[in-house]
């Protein structure tokens, strides 16, 4: 399959400085790609290139497999991009949201309905008649998101879309986004500094450092085996594993992960596939099987495959049907006598399992 959007041998310069160099980047139709990386890495610049707004000094951008040169306007109208700053126009919020539609010549009557739908979806109904210039930071960000989503584009490019939102909104919007993206099959690329958001939303993650793509791959892969320390610093180290839902009842979901079964709290979860995420500090290791009753619902037997010191703690990698990482204190390591090859039981609560729904 040809990529929806692809970069070949791109170089972007500002003055004499080379700020972005991408040998190859393919964004597949329907996928969600998260871009992570330190400040000033070139993430926003990458997005500008993908949005056909910055013509690179060198290299080619391909849309559906063919070079974009000369048809930028037509192609741009199939996309929508939201910048890091919300650049709203000095007109009403409703007019701001309707902007892209009227640029595409949609008649006023038709616009109204769409605009209202998206006003509502981003929780800014009340602001419809207010000026785009007098909004709070978060309100402005919502409006600028609505302004892009209302276009129902086939590609959407978002630059730190949730940075100014309050946490509950951020979470519910992330949920919505997951729903919208999977409903519509929109191709999406978004820049974020929030690992959770990336893990939750993205099919693939690209980590950019110093103007270069340091690692790109499926979310689980990047998160669980970062290519190097720099990447690790930006994605964190977590256990992330693909899983299939086996059954789901009483608010509990049972999943098969690798050779193991894992129970998790459902919390409205409905998909048939998922990524299972576990924080290292949520996993308890024990060397003997216990029979007592606790609120721990998952007990997986396995073998220690690696031990890495990490500050005051130690990260223990174990294969328990799938690879997982637990962080324990040095003293526990000694007391339990854990070494590579030691058989261990990894326990974690169903509530500690974070599920990320996956596609169809």
């Amino acid at each position: 399959m040809t990529a929806k959007l692809a970069l070949r041998d791109i170089v972007v310069r500002r003055g004499n400085a080379e700020i972005l160099r991408v040998l190859q980047l393919d964004v597949t139709e329907g996928e969600v790609l998260a871009v992570l990386g330190p400040n000033g890495a070139g993430k926003s610049t990458l997005l500008q290139v993908l949005a056909l707004l910055e013509r690179p000094a060198q290299g080619e951008v391909l849309f559906d497999g063919s070079p974009v040169a000369g048809r930028e306007l037509k192609l741009r109208r199939q996309m929508a991009a939201v910048f890091q700053e919300s650049l709203l126009l000095d007109r009403s919020v409703a007019a701001n949201i309707a902007l892209g539609l009227s640029l595409r010549g949609m008649p006023r009557g038709q616009r109204r309905e769409r605009v209202h739908y998206w006003l509502h979806r981003f929780g800014v109904d009340d602001l419809a008649d207010r000026s785009g210039r007098h909004l709070s930071g978060g309100e402005a960000q919502r409006v600028s998101l609505a302004r892009a989503f209302v276009l129902e584009p086939s590609i959407i490019l978002l630059d730190e879309p949730f940075s100014a939102l309050d946490q509950p909104t951020r979470e519910s919007l992330a949920d919505e986004l997951v729903a919208v993206l999977s409903e519509t099959g929109i191709t999406a690329v978004f820049v974020t500094h929030e690992r959770d958001e990336a893990a939750r939303l993205a099919d693939r993650v690209a980590v950019i450092v110093d103007g270069q793509v340091q690692q790109i791959g499926p979310t689980a892969e990047v998160f669980s085996s970062p290519a190097d320390e720099t990447v690790a610093a930006y994605v964190g180290v977590e256990t992330v594993a693909p899983a299939k839902v086996l059954e789901s009842h009483d608010g509990l979901v049972v999943l098969s992960v690798g050779y193991a079964h894992v129970e998790a709290t459902a919390n409205g979860f409905k998909a048939s596939e998922a990524l299972v995420c576990l924080r290292p500090e949520d996993i308890v290791l024990s060397v003997t099987e216990s029979e007592i009753q606790t609120s721990v619902r998952n007990r997986l037997r396995g073998t220690v495959t690696g031990i890495k010191p990490a500050g005051a703690e130690v990260r223990v990698e174990a294969d328990c049907g799938f690879p997982l990482v637990a962080s324990i204190t040095r003293r526990s390591l000694e007391e339990l006598g854990i070494a590579i090859g030691t058989p261990v039981t990894a326990s974690f609560k169903a509530t500690a399992v974070h599920l990320i729904p996956r596609g169809t």
Partner: protein, 232 residues
């Protein structure tokens, strides 16, 4: 001082009695300077947008030239345009000298640098990422221009008024290329000069007041339009 009062009284008398000649001179002023302003807007906004948005070698020089253009003395413009339009001049065969068209040309040249200057000022201070954001929402080049012009509508409004003001208030060029011919190319400013030369100060002031009232009125109308626009 008395003269000013006399002038004001005279102005009201003229407006009240609807003096046909004054009326036709006013209309001519409006038409000539209105056309010149329109042309100056087209030229000034195009060049202004170019200078505000594009970085190219020679841009600084171009800006300096525009600024210099704001100092073009009307008499000089008048003289040069006249030299071109005189029968002996390269454009003589067009027969434009001493016609309203000639005045429109001269006034356009006078007003355009001002409009350009205001356009650069207005567009230059918009946030630099606004334009890419508009493109990102699907704007074509023209739509982008239209949107940023609306965004900068207040200063652009000043550009229109500065352009119209420069055109309508100018006298040196109009005299030179228009000839101040009664019933043909006499406009408010040239009429004021004539009245002043005749020592008829009160009528001169009356005509000035009518001229200023015209400018003020157009301002009011455009302000109204602009505010209605921004509300919708």
């Amino acid at each position: 001082m008395e003269l000013i009062w006399d002038g004001i009284r005279e102005a009201f008398r003229i407006i009240g009695t609807g003096d046909r000649e004054v009326w036709s001179i006013t209309l001519r002023s409006l038409l000539v300077s209105g056309s010149a302003t329109l042309l100056a807007l087209i030229i000034g906004i195009s060049i202004g947008a170019l200078l505000a948005f594009r970085r190219f070698p020679g841009r600084n020089l171009a800006v300096t030239l525009v600024n210099t253009g704001m100092g073009l003395p009307p008499v000089v413009v008048g003289l040069v345009v006249a030299i071109f339009l005189w029968r002996s001049g390269p454009l003589g065969p067009l027969g434009l000298i001493y016609t309203p068209a000639a005045m429109v040309i001269a006034q356009t040249i006078i007003a355009a640098p001002l409009v350009t200057g205001f356009t650069v000022a207005a567009l230059g201070s918009l946030p630099s990422r606004l334009r890419p954001q508009l493109y990102a929402l699907g704007a074509s080049r023209l739509q982008m221009l239209w949107l940023v012009l609306q965004e900068a509508r207040l200063p652009l409004f000043a550009a229109i008024m500065a352009g119209f003001g420069a055109a309508v208030s100018e006298v040196g060029a109009s005299l030179m290329v228009g000839g101040n011919l009664a019933g043909e190319t006499r406009v408010l400013t040239t009429a004021v000069v004539l009245a002043a030369q005749r020592g008829e100060f009160a009528p001169a002031i009356a005509l000035s007041i009518i001229l200023l009232a015209l400018v003020f009125l157009i301002n009011l109308v455009l302000t109204g339009v602009q505010q209605r626009e921004s509300r919708s």
